[in-house]
Symmetry: C2
Subunit: 209 residues, 2 copies
């Protein structure tokens, strides 16, 4: 089998596994996938090695549209605030659409992802890498003055977390909206600065009694 | 038994239940509490009605320091940005201290709270009520221009969520800090406004290709 055939077979089987997983409401181990597809267990082990490997391929498939959107946004020539909004809103829309069309399946995938976080970490790292690029571009235009990129990255991730963590949809879908995300991004672009704005108190006389 | 005696007995038993729950790593049902305390089951049922009632008393006990801090901050004469920072940071410190001194016990209480969310909703509602007061005070000073209180409330809750949702400590404790919370509150006070800042795009020609 050529590398190309192998990749294409891996993808086909991962698609099947994802479909079965959403249909049955449970993770599909290699053995079951082999039985369902009528192929030898040794064959699927050659392709995925083990259940972890299968989950990884399944996660890659699931994240493909997210990655495509991030790359499109990065390659665009929008101004930094527009870019950052699109960077978050497009992935949020994909997740919301998936959640609403199959809440139980979506919850299951959240759960599987949390249980195998080391297998999804590379997607989190990739998103951080792209967001760091956006931050660097914005800083070149004068936004987020005074921050190291990592600090701005962490702050933005925390402020926008409800729109990136898929679990948020399970709990507060009806409280999340494009309009609110836009206000948050606007607030970040206007207000986020390493300067001490006074919230934490510069004057000990001001500690509450 | 007078109402006062009843309240004091309820508190004592809730304290015992909380202690047992943290020690054993599991919820303590009424029956077990009665056995542990060597009192009749009918007696604990008279006090708590059922397991839900016991959990509610336990949650009240657990949230008591949070509520005291919120009320202290509300009663202080700090400027609005200092007030809001203290409103969040004091509760965050309580939670972080609890989490770090007993991570497994803390995780268990998060889990129990999530499973009986209707019993903790009143604390969420109370925190929202107090935060709405802070927002109204800040708006009187010109902050968050143009927003209905409910909209500002929702946006601030979303941006600060990692410092109020106890579960966040289980996952990103090391990424949460007083310094970052202060930057977030500063950013909210400088930047949060109902005005369209442009992130969501005012010009269709600007949609990314």
């Amino acid at each position: 089998m050529t590398a190309e055939e192998l990749a294409s077979e891996r993808r086909r089987l991962a698609e099947q596994a994802l479909k079965l997983c959403l249909k049955r409401g449970e993770e599909i181990p290699l053995q079951k996938l082999a039985a369902e597809e009528g192929i030898a267990r040794a064959r699927v082990e050659q392709i995925f090695a083990d259940d972890d490997g299968l989950f990884e391929s399944l996660a890659e498939l699931w994240m493909e549209p997210h990655i495509a959107e991030m790359e499109d946004v990065l390659a665009s020539d929008l101004p930094p605030n527009r870019k950052m909004y699109e960077f978050f809103v497009r992935r949020f829309r994909i997740s919301r659409e998936r959640y609403r069309s199959d809440p139980a399946g979506f919850a299951l995938l959240c759960e599987l992802g949390a249980a195998r976080f080391e297998k999804v970490r590379s997607f989190v790292d990739l998103a951080d890498h792209y967001l760091s690029e956006l931050i660097a571009q914005a800083q070149a235009d004068g936004y987020f003055p005074g921050f190291e990129i990592d600090m701005a990255l962490s702050l933005i991730n925390q402020m926008v977390g409800n729109y990136t963590l898929p679990d948020a949809l399970l709990y507060i879908d009806e409280k999340l909206s494009e309009e609110k995300l836009a206000h948050i991004i606007d607030s970040i672009f206007v207000g986020l600065s390493a300067e001490n704005g006074g919230a934490s108190g510069v004057n000990t006389l001001r500690i509450a009694t």
